[in-house]
Amino acid sequence: MSEYLPFVVIGLFTGAVYALAAAGLVLTYKTSGVFNFGHGAIGMFAAYVFYHLNTAWGWGTIPSMAVALLLFGPLMGVLLDRVLFRSLAGAGLATYVVASLGLLVFLQGLAVVWKGGNTYRINPFFPTNTFKVPGVSGVFVTVEQALVVGIAVLAGVALTAFFRVTTLGLRTRAVVNDRDLTSLVGVSPNVVTTLSWALGCFFASLSAILFVPSLGLDSVLLTLLVLTALGAAAAGRLTSIPVTMATAFAIGVGQSLLVKAIGTRPSLAGLPTSLPFVVLFVILFFAKKTTFALPARAQERIAKATALRGGRSHRSRFPAGQLLVLSAVAVLLPATVSGYRLSTATTAVGMVLVFSSLSLLLGLSRQVSLCHAMFVSFGATNLSLLLHAHVPFLPALILAALLVVPLGAIVAIPSIRLSGLFLALATFGFGKLAQDVLYPTALAFGSDSLASIPRPAAFRGPAAFYYLVLAIAIAGVVVVEVLKASRLGRTLRALADSPTAVESLGISPWASRVIVFCVSAFLAGLAGGLLGTLVQSINPNSFDFFLSLLWVTVLVVAGASTLGGSVLAAILLVVVPAVLTSRAVTEWQPVAFGLAAMAFAQLPNGIMTMVRMPDWSAAWQRVSWKAAHQQRARERHAVTAPVRAT
């Protein structure tokens, strides 16, 4: 037993860091209704600011820390609230998720541009000498560990006291309870919200900076601190700060004990880091639907804003003209390009399929999937396994994609019945969980971390393979576009605007969302098989979890609702850096995508909103009286947006 005690001490230390991060996350969510996926990234950037002041400018530890914690953190909070999130007020959930993901990608990219992608060591701020815990034999605690745990406990007590005792705390709770009434009694809810953003970002910065001496200054790991805070925040139902902080401590200790228990068995090495997600899933799985319903006020605001926008048209036409023109261009492409350019084109076409499958969720039903890279990766590894079992290539490709579907269902089914935010959270967590726990197993890459995918003889030539990818991508895109124009598509679009209205029509929103999620996973798996076959061997980092986040931002920037957006997204992501090969382009690309995602989060269809596509079907109508006649008939029977009654 006593050999576990030192691990409890280590666990309490990491738990303290998680607790601070999670407290800030819950604080901002409670008061503003925004779940900030960029919370960890803000803390990460504060740590970089600290590092820069401390090393490049030679400031002392205390002034550097003061600036990073007391100036940068809170200022960031104020800016985010005033400039970004307030302008989105009342926008749908997906918009908030995308904007905060944009923030994450932006800050992470900026940190890499600024300091490079290396991990820097930082000297401990606090004395590292140890002392014995009185009364417990054999347990030594460093001063740093004791202080950090003390800070977290103190912060928890201080926050609780702040809410119970101070006027500002009371006002914050009043805003959480009823925003309109707060303004009616003469208190500005905006000021209260801004202050809680400042406080929340202070906590983000504090947790990251306290963690840096033991974790190292690493832009990815620190950004992912938000992931670890997720399980704890979910346990506190995203509202209770004491429960959240207590769970965070428990997760920290649990992780540390798991490390000890697992010892050196490599196959289970990913388990400790995944504990927060296991907690998240257990909570999501057993949660009652009402537990995680959005606050009534937030729902009301969203409904109001939807009414303000006047509702979207719920119809969508099959883009036959666009598809024809784009396919014709793609078919002629190998006549003009070859070599690495052709392989870039092949990647781009494969990515069109990825983006198209993602647009089914993001653009159509406004569901945010943050584990698309996982679907793609499994599409490739499944194919590898099937090919090595001597299944012929084309059946193997289809089967590999089909096998991705149950995986999608596992993530989607428990979370789709909750609010849209939880699908985003669950996929966010699951993507990382899969990479840490599933990838090293024989189900994916196995212990040698490699999946080889031999190309079939018939498609060995680059042009032949290009045409194979093109044919399958076109078929996939047709499926997506037919779905969008179908009755199911209309239902999903109406559902995204007003879940209650559709529920009252007797259509199960749950079933239609699960169906579309599974179709999307299948198509992503198909694309994964093709992209894997292109490069012929992939590793666990080829389709890194982080890519999922980047893809979402890229697609939203390009336009998530239409085929043109998916094509533009592939061009922006794949073709641009291949043509402009300067290092600056590749480095600044995520920064630009992140920034653009924040700016364009509210546009209904990203850049494509501003591009007027030639109206092919109108042209077609002019030449075809019959088509025009059918069109008019369709319009007469069109489902119009249901108007909300009071």
Partner: protein, 237 residues
Amino acid sequence: MGSPMLALENIHAGYGRFEVLHGVDLRVPPGKTVALLGANGAGKTTLLKAAAGLVPTTAGQITLDGVRVERIPPQKRARRGLMLIPEGRGIFRDLTVRENLAMFAGRRSVSEAIERAVAAFPVLDGRLGQRAGSLSGGQQQMVAVSRALIADARVILADELSVGLAPVVVDEIFEAVNVLRAEGRSLVIVEQYVDRVLDVADYVYVLHKGRVALVGEPEQCRRDAVFDQYIGAATHS
């Protein structure tokens, strides 16, 4: 009428593209009480919300004691002395009664706020520590109305204070309304018990489909047959 305490002129407002109010005029002279009547969906709540700043106006002017306020946010209108007691229960359900009163106190001290509320509604005395959402409907409304008694609002807009309450409780609420009148506050009252509100009102406005259909004094309204048509006999208590 002299210069009004609150004047709404040509108010257009609604929800998004859906306009509810199509040019409403309403004047509340200092110290007077206006009864605002109309069928369900006529736009009464929308008009009060537009006056308080919760629903943006697309055209028209709102003047509070000679100062134009239609461009300023709700909290600033509140600080200038305009109070809306909203439809439903105008309380913070998750806060205790004491905390609610503290939020309502404004410039007054919390103990003074509690004193005033308890003086008007003695039942609240034993329930200061209780979560407001767990009070009975009548007690909740008492907390909401005590907001008007605590603060020095010059204009009070009250939306359906008596809805869903037992007659005895309604009596108590209307007693508080009379106190407010005696203190010289200006009131706009939306109420389903038409006879009751006509007893306390100086002027009556009838809204119909987002327009003012009738303006008059209570006695006129009681006699006028057109009036009944607009309100619907069913709403008489």
